[in-house]
Amino acid sequence: MAIELQKITEKWDLTYNHAVGETASRYFYEIKENKQIFGKYCPSCKKVIVPPRSFCDSCFTDTTEWVKVANEGVIECATIICSPFKTLPDPPYALSYVKLDGADTAMGGYVKGIDLTNIDNAMNILKIGNRIKVIFKDDRQGNVLDYWFEPV
């Protein structure tokens, strides 16, 4: 007698309340209250790190000043996601790493305001080196979804 091979379904639903730390708390505060993006300066490497960290991961020196960076910069790389993944937005949508003017590192964010129906055309707008600007949400919560990028 052939026995049916059984399966057991399990779902995990976990909640965490992560402390983001002093540095990230200040970063998000400036975004939420003042629509400003700040990095932190490493005095040894002479680099502005965005998003800011309490220490430089190149030389392990504590970062010092808070440095305001521009709300505009260049695309370092970008991709368009065309397939659905659970809990992620309905495709297509674009993701980019952008180096804002004044920053020495790039930061990630969604890219909106592009017609994604023709992928080749859209990827042209998202070419490395193209200028891009930061747009802030009206209803900001104090996290990385408070802003996204749009082509200049």
Binding site: K47, C77, T79, L95, Y97, K99, A106, G108, G109
Partner: protein
């Protein structure tokens, strides 16, 4: 460090597929272990220590399944350690087993594990969790788009095209068609790859590894044991490991430490393995390379990092057939990670396939006259890179 020579004397792999509805991880680990033991010609009683590769737990959905699999690996009353370095876990586990023997602590060590990536159904949800909740996780980051971003930069730096990526897939499937253990074995054409649906541009479905389930195992032994019981052991001549920084955004821009296009830390890892192995001219001295390549574009920067050519040169050389199974240096004659990716053991399979090649036990995928093989595995957000040099001699 005065060390003893360490050999690989047995390898076991199950036939990889999407789902193993007939077996749990507990059964599959035993299956792979049994195959390796038979291959080595030793018994469970002779195993002295076990190294269990597993990362992350949430793909198979059982936390610390090395505990459940204590029976499958016959670890009762023996030394056991579980290793987790992301996707490079399997090869890190081989390195840890190497240390057990090289140090003189043990003479026979089993490395065994399994994964059920196909059973998960939520792979990219899990992968998204590797990013920190503070700055990166709310972005739609997955391992697919992380490496699509690398492809974008590699295209910009070296002129790689979508067709160049497709050529890697064509080669991989050709090779995998000769490998009975591989998951994706069906040959494809460049056109079929280019027409497959886009996941994250430029990575398309056929440019991407499958979600594989199955197990793999390996027996390592000291020189005395290997020479006594193995006709042609595979000797671990060198191992390397290096680590990249965490933030993707730091690997871009003109002041970048290491460009996200490349695999700088992998090249450092290879330098260390080559130094230990006494390899000075990889192109001339290496016959086979099993390089971790979960997406087609990543094979290029892996070949570059292995020092088999200058950065970016791999594109033209691959197109010329230089890295085919019968080319100058066979790259991924097993079909590679692109055709089979049971994440916890993928790195172990790289070393296993490298060993099979120099032992001349690689069946239809045997590279003629293979004497020296290299293996690599990547983990984390393009952060952990393990490498090994495996040869007929030590």
């Amino acid at each position: 460090m005065k060390k003893r020579n360490v050999a690989i004397i047995g390898i076991g792999q199950t036939n990889f597929c999407s789902k193993r509805d007939d077996a749990s991880i507990y059964d599959i680990v035993k299956e792979a272990t049994d195959i390796a033991l038979r291959d080595a010609g030793i018994t469970r009683e002779e195993i002295e220590a076990i190294v269990f590769p597993l990362a992350p737990d949430s793909l198979a959905g059982v936390l610390n399944s090395e505990r459940w699999c204590v029976d499958s690996t016959s670890a009762r009353n023996k030394r056991l350690i579980r290793i987790n370095t992301g996707g490079s876990t399997g090869l890190s586990a081989v390195q840890v087993a190497y240390y057990h023997i090289a140090s003189g602590m043990n003479n026979i060590v089993l490395v065994a594990g399994a994964d059920k990536v196909g059973e998960s159904g939520d792979v990219q949800i899990i992968m998204n969790k590797i990013w920190d909740p503070i700055y990166e996780r709310k972005l739609p980051l997955t391992t697919i788009n992380m490496l699509a971003l690398s492809a974008i930069r590699y295209m910009h730096k070296y002129g790689m095209t979508e067709t160049d990526m497709a050529k890697v897939v064509v080669k991989a499937r050709n090779h995998a068609s000769r490998n009975p253990h591989a998951h994706l074995r069906k040959k494809v054409t460049i056109d079929e790859v280019l027409k497959s649906r886009i996941l994250s541009w430029p990575i398309k479905l056929f440019d991407s590894c499958p979600s594989s389930s199955g197990g793999a195992a390996m027996i390592l032994a000291s020189e005395d044991v290997a020479k006594k019981i193995c006709i042609r052991p595979a000797w671990i001549r060198g191992i390397g490991q290096s680590t990249e920084t965490y933030y993707l955004g730091d690997r871009m821009g003109t002041n970048a430490l290491n460009d996200h296009a490349d695999a700088y830390a992998l090249s450092e890892s290879f330098k260390r393995a080559y130094k230990m192995a006494g390899i000075v001219n990889p192109v001339k001295e290496v016959d086979v390379a099993e390089l971790y390549n979960p997406f087609s574009n990543t094979e290029y920067h892996a070949i570059d990092a292995a020092g088999l050519c200058e950065r970016g040169e791999s594109i033209k050389l691959l197109g010329d057939g230089y890295f085919d199974i019968d080319g100058e240096v066979a790259v991924n004659p097993s079909g590679g990670t692109l055709c089979t990716n049971p994440i916890a053991v993928t790195g172990l399979i790289r070393a296993g396939e490298a060993a099979l090649q120099v032992m001349h036990k690689a069946g239809d995928r045997q590279v003629k006259g293979a004497k020296v093989a290299i293996a690599s595995a990547n983990g984390g957000d393009h952060q952990f890179f393990a490498t090994a040099v495996i040869g007929q001699d030590y």
